[in-house]
């Protein structure tokens, strides 16, 4: 392409050579993708920005040290973590069962595992009451035999959160297991490893990033759970009043208190999620 002779203001000697050639750099994003992407980002970020703007910055210090706030935060973090551990303990073997074995009705089982995802959380809470409540199928027996009751306890909160968050973990881990090459387990078998040893020393390390990603999703979901918690575990400060519950109740009385609580939960969650290194949760 011959260089044009027209000059633009301030153009250097080679500028006229560059004109007309399409620039292809890795930063160039097609407009068709960029616009919806930015809209999506705005949709997610603007409400959070709204929170920040309406925060009562002047009264923030004394609101933060109000008695219920730290208590609810502590309870939220503890129960979410406990729920995630419970999900790992039960969910990883379940995911292995779904991914690596065949049994009649496997598709049905997988569908059932994902039910808590589509169930309204309050319905989940009611279902938990019917099973683990004082007159529930299992809860009644627990109460009579051991004197253990689960509703209105912190354990109840952990159960409710685990119920709604477990599908995230199972689906993520099942996906990771399916993606992992089963032939490594065969190689391990030829070297003398039994099924459990092969799982422990070969499969688990290979799918560890997938498990970590699932655990993160699980933790985040558990942290934000409201409906099942309030229905099954009730609401009592220090014992069952997690942050989402505290926010909801504060909203009825004092909007600014609700905003402060929301801000605290937001900051803590973002800090923890942002501190996760990419390489911990993506497969190499």
């Amino acid at each position: 392409m011959p260089p044009t002779s027209t000059k633009t203001a301030g153009a250097g000697p080679v500028a006229h050579l560059r004109r007309g050639r399409p620039r292809r750099g890795s930063a160039r994003v097609p407009v068709v993708l960029a616009v919806p992407a930015l809209l999506g980002l705005g949709f997610l970020v603007l409400p959070l920005a709204g929170l920040l703007i309406r925060t009562p910055w002047s009264s923030l210090p004394q609101r933060l040290t109000a008695p219920g706030v730290l208590e609810a935060l502590r309870l939220s973090l503890v129960t979410a973590t406990a729920a995630t551990l419970l999900c790992l303990l039960l969910g990883v073997p379940l995911a292995w069962l779904l991914a690596r074995t065949t049994f009649p009705g496997r598709r049905l089982v997988r569908a059932l595992v994902t039910v808590p995802l589509v169930l309204p959380p309050v319905v989940g809470g009611v279902a938990l009451l019917l099973v683990f409540g004082r007159r529930g199928l299992i809860g009644g027996w627990l109460d009579e035999t051991f004197g253990i009751t689960l509703p209105f306890t912190t354990t109840g909160v952990v159960l409710a959160e685990a119920f709604v968050a477990m599908p995230f973990l199972v689906i993520a881990v099942e996906g990771a297991l399916r993606g992992a090459d089963a032939r490594y387990e065969e190689a391990a078998a030829t070297l003398g490893a039994g099924r459990w040893t092969a799982f422990r020393r070969v499969t688990l390390p290979l799918v560890a990033p997938g498990i970590a990603a699932g655990a993160v999703l699980c933790w985040a979901r558990a942290l934000g759970e409201f409906g099942a918690t309030i229905t099954f575990a009730g609401n009592f400060p220090g014992r069952t009043q997690t942050m989402p519950l505290a926010v909801y109740l504060a909203l009825e009385q004092d909007l600014e208190a609700a905003i402060v609580l929301s801000l605290v939960l937001l900051v803590v969650s973002v800090a923890i999620l942002a501190s996760l290194r990419d390489r911990w949760i993506t497969t190499p």
Binding site: E186, A188, A189, T190, L191, T197, L206
Partner: protein
């Protein structure tokens, strides 16, 4: 029975049934050769215990490991085997050292001892300085040697290799073949190796077993099999022209009535084999000592090493090797009509 490996592998496959008797003595290397889909990998997996038999048995060291008749099946992890897979399957999350130490550790050896042992094996395959590397940091040849060390570290009675050199480029293959030959010679147990490269088979194996459609079609030492092939597959593999016919003295009548004059007198059903380089091409019917001359048409011309391989059609199809200069001089192009001449002394005849 002095055989370390004594097996009769019967497995139902889609399309055919694998029915393969296989034995190997301690220190012996047996190569399974055959076209794709012949059942070689199935046989290896059955020997390893990754696939149960439908009939027959697998016995190693006098111990019956798989016997469908009695229902006895010993899983892979309980067999004294070592497997080198075609793509090595080195555990990506472990170093080369830990990969090699994996087997002994599974058998209860302490981590320290297993690692020391593994270091010794890596040294023997010449990779001592790569012990701390991860598999993705190793080249193809290095990975192959680690895989071999890993399989040998468990001191198996039976070593199984699935196309051990297939994934390597030609240069690396040369070096690795030599190394592999040395280690296989030192290995006290039996070795079964799958390959489709006749050169691998000839260099590495003591005995060849040719498998086609699940059945053994030829078995013997490398020299015999490669000079006296009994199937088209082997003939093509080693680059020989092979025909089957009925011999009466030094004349062999092939299918279609074509007669070949041969050197060794035989009677009855025979194979006749000769090298492509034994065939000479003439523009007109030659008049000379070769007893076998016939008109043929050139079908294809392809490079073969430094020479050209000419595929010919005629009373019998065959391949002839000529120099590029000769081909140019005679204007040998597809469609050209030539006369082929074959000296009877260049043929090998042996009973079918």
């Amino acid at each position: 029975m002095t055989e370390l490996l004594d097996a009769h592998l019967v497995v139902e496959r889609p399309g055919f049934t694998l029915d393969l008797p296989l034995t190997a003595a301690p220190g012996e290397v047996v190569a399974l050769l055959g076209p794709n889909g012949a059942g070689k990998t199935t046989a290896l997996r059955a020997l390893a215990g990754l696939l149960p038999l439908h009939g027959g048995h697998v016995t190693i060291g006098g111990r019956r490991l798989d016997d469908p008749d009695t229902g006895r099946f010993v899983a892979a992890e309980k067999r004294s085997i070592g497997v080198v897979f075609q793509d090595y399957l080195l555990f990506p999350h472990l170093t080369a050292l830990d990969n090699v130490a994996f087997g002994p550790r599974c058998r209860g050896v302490s981590r320290q001892r297993a690692r020391a042992d593994a270091a010794g094996w890596l040294d023997r395959v010449g990779l001592a300085e790569h012990a701390r590397r991860r598999p993705r940091q190793l080249s193809g040849g290095q990975a192959q040697r680690v895989a071999l060390a890993r399989a040998l570290a468990v001191r198996p009675d039976l070593l199984l290799l699935d196309e051990p050199l297939a994934a390597l480029d030609a240069r690396t293959r040369l070096d690795t073949r030599v190394h592999l030959h040395r280690h296989l010679a030192e290995h006290p147990g039996a070795t079964v190796l799958i390959t489709h490269d006749p050169l691998d088979a000839m260099v590495l194996a003591d005995r060849l077993v040719i498998v086609e459609q699940g059945r053994v079609v030829q078995s013997g030492d490398a020299a015999t099999v490669t000079t006296r092939p009994r199937t088209d597959y082997v003939a093509r593999l080693v680059g020989l022209n092979l025909y089957r016919g009925r011999a009466d003295g030094t004349t062999v009548e092939l299918a279609g009535g074509f007669r070949l004059a041969t050197a060794e007198p035989q009677h009855g059903e025979v194979f006749v084999a000769f090298r492509p380089s034994a065939v000479a091409l003439y523009p007109r019917q030659p008049d000379g000592s070769p007893r076998n001359t016939w008109p043929a048409t050139i079908v294809a011309v392809a490079p073969s090493g430094d020479n050209l391989r000419i595929e010919l059609a005629g009373p019998i199809p065959l391949a002839a090797d000529v120099t590029p200069a000769a081909a140019a001089h005679l204007n040998l192009t597809p469609g050209a009509r030539v006369w082929a001449a074959l000296k009877a002394t260049e043929t090998t005849t042996y009973p079918a």
